[in-house]
Symmetry: C2
Subunit: 396 residues, 2 copies
């Protein structure tokens, strides 16, 4: 049987590569501290479950293809609160930020096209872009310079005749890098000058730790044709399992094309839309508390990491991830060894090896991504395990 | 800005074309009887809402990418009950049957490839196939022969070097045609002999009205490499808004490729999966009652249609749709006229004009699809309106 040439170019998720080893380690009685996945442990606001329980229609009907009005209204108001106004038809509800991104990429990328993405980047971008027949043109960054990518010369140097878009994951997964307002302006200007889309994957917007106002590429109303914002309730409200996201853009032609995909898949889950609308009634005190909690976790991880000889890392300004370079030859081999050959009083630790976050072959081999989604005490123990693991691994 | 050549070839849903006219008719005080959409009015079993209300975990987490084990188990048991056994990893949970179909088509179709689909067919197939860069090779059928397509010579005559798959929507939307066991065997044999996938879109499996056993292409275990079943809870349990479906196949390579798409979109909504698993506890008396209700409706519609001079229609054996040829010049023009220029005591009627269900240009212009999803009395009135409308339209 023949398969699509596009899907054959894709791989399975690199985040899952060590899953069998983790299962075996647990079966052997080890406790594994998971820093490898971005599933927050923060409680989902009760408004979600109350709305779900309050649903009383007898038939669970299809929602309209562009989304339920109650949810579109809630999202519109949320952006109004951030001083960005979008019309209702500039918001399309999707099944998670993932579907939002896949639809947008499908609309703008053709076979042989390129999209500029700073590396390291969220590995699922690879599958999403490859299945369009396009490829990622990476902007390389390094741990030594804090993964900084907002450099006009570097970005313009990557633009060619096949370039269609620039992706900004801001705040960044996996690096936690946050653009300054000036850098955002510059990125948008580059997109305007070169007639490119600029896609803001802003899933982690609320997770910034220096007291700065919440940012979005949606602020740049002068770049209405260029800017596309990908949003989701997943991290904002710790509601990853709701699978509710949206595409936001003032580009009418893009939204008309995106609507074709929305209609072809009929609708997004009805109850999850109703419940997600209720999430937007959560007050600022919720975000303040969550932000404080993640900031403490970040500080713990960074403090402990900096105590480990040979580790290179910067203090991330946003999201709940960080990348670090370790004094090991190969983070993949080290991770596997941690699961198969190492323990400290029966404990070991798991992170995401860095190679799969890069498009450039050979980059990131000694780097890891840490998701600081555990409680304070567990994070401290996990960092101690990492330190002990590095020492033991290098003195084998 | 440039857009993908593939999305530019697609159109918006033809089912929505008359929506603005319906809105205007209602605003003018008319009552519109909707026979144009496949949204059942049957109540969703309470097990769905009970399961949703019983969810008590504090964090709404991502589900595993291939689906929640509780739902995969429920679907496995359902098929065991139909004497078809599938391993758990031969079932991938998706966001509705729509995502299941889109993923499968993405996995098997390349630019320039063809898929054989009998026409008239579900119009969303057009977008799903076109966005893969492939095209539909239609098997033409006609109202005069009851839209019968299972003809070896006709199907083999459509196979060429670019053919990758045959689609069987069984029971059929929009025709209500149901394959006999012998015809299913023949279709599967053709796929085997020509090394093609055969995709069974079996959303309406339970809706057969002659007391026959429930069918599936999944019965043909000897065609393990060829058969793909698309399934969904949407119509089976009147739970269209749950957006829960699945891909079922014994073809390991296909399932491995499909898993790449599943991982790239992370997961399917958690609560909807838990609640859909609960739906599978519904007993046979539920289906017997629903089947009886739709059978009554079908008989009402067919009886009334056959009384209208010049209408050609067969009694459909399954699903809750039928196609009919009307004695009008153009069903599109007739539909628009019914909304703008016609009423009988303030009432008018809406159906889906047939042209968009065909790939062959010019076919279906005098045909319509009727979804018999209204109560008995409303269906009778709607059929009277259709009869009066045809008479008035033709004597303008």
């Amino acid at each position: 049987m023949k398969f699509s040439s596009k899907v054959q170019k894709c791989g399975l998720s690199p985040m899952r590569k060590f899953h069998p080893y983790a299962v075996a380690a647990k079966a052997a009685g080890k406790r594994v501290y998971h820093l490898n996945i971005g599933q927050p442990d923060i409680e989902t606001p009760p408004q979600y479950f109350e709305a779900v329980r309050g649903f009383s229609q007898p038939v669970l009907e299809y929602a309209p293809s562009p989304g339920l009005p109650v949810l579109i209204d809630a999202i519109q108001k949320y952006y109004d609160g951030l001083s960005m106004h979008f019309e209702k038809d500039e918001i399309l509800i999707t099944t998670g930020g993932s579907e939002a991104l896949q639809i947008v990429l499908n609309c703008i990328l053709d076979d042989g096209d390129e999209i500029i993405i700073p590396e390291p980047f969220y590995p699922n971008y690879n599958t999403m872009v490859s299945t369009c027949g396009a490829s990622i043109h990476p902007i390389s960054t390094s741990p030594e310079e804090g993964y900084h990518y907002a450099d006009r010369a570097r970005i313009e140097g990557a633009i060619n005749g096949r370039t269609r878009a620039i992706m900004c994951t801001n705040p960044g997964n996996p690096t936690g890098a946050v653009l300054t307002p000036e850098e955002m302006r510059m990125m948008v200007d580059i997109a305007k000058e070169h007639n490119l889309f600029i896609i803001g994957d802003e899933a982690y917007r609320e997770f910034v730790y220096a007291g700065e106002p919440l940012q979005s590429l949606g602020e740049f109303a002068d770049a209405a044709e260029n800017v596309v914002v990908i949003d989701t309730v997943s991290k904002r409200f710790s509601a990853c399992g709701a699978r509710i996201g949206c595409i936001i853009s003032r580009n009418r032609e893009l939204m008309a094309h995106a609507m074709k995909y929305c209609q072809a898949r009929l609708s997004v889950a009805t109850l999850d839309q109703i419940a997600s609308a209720a999430l937007y009634s959560v007050g600022p005190e919720y975000f303040a508390a969550v932000r404080e909690e993640y900031k403490r976790r970040r500080d713990t991880v960074v403090t402990k990491l900096k105590e480990i000889p040979g580790v290179i890392c910067s203090c991330p300004r946003g999201a709940f991830y960080l990348m670090a370079a370790l004094p090991v030859d190969d983070a993949d081999a080290f991770q596997q060894w941690l699961l198969t050959d190492f323990d400290d009083n029966g404990d070991t630790v798991m992170f995401a090896p860095g190679g799969s976050f890069y498009a450039t072959p050979g980059k990131g081999v000694n780097e890891i991504r840490i998701a600081y989604v555990l409680r304070q005490r567990d994070l401290e123990r996990a960092m101690d395990l990492l330190a002990k693991g590095i020492a033991a691994y290098n003195s084998r």
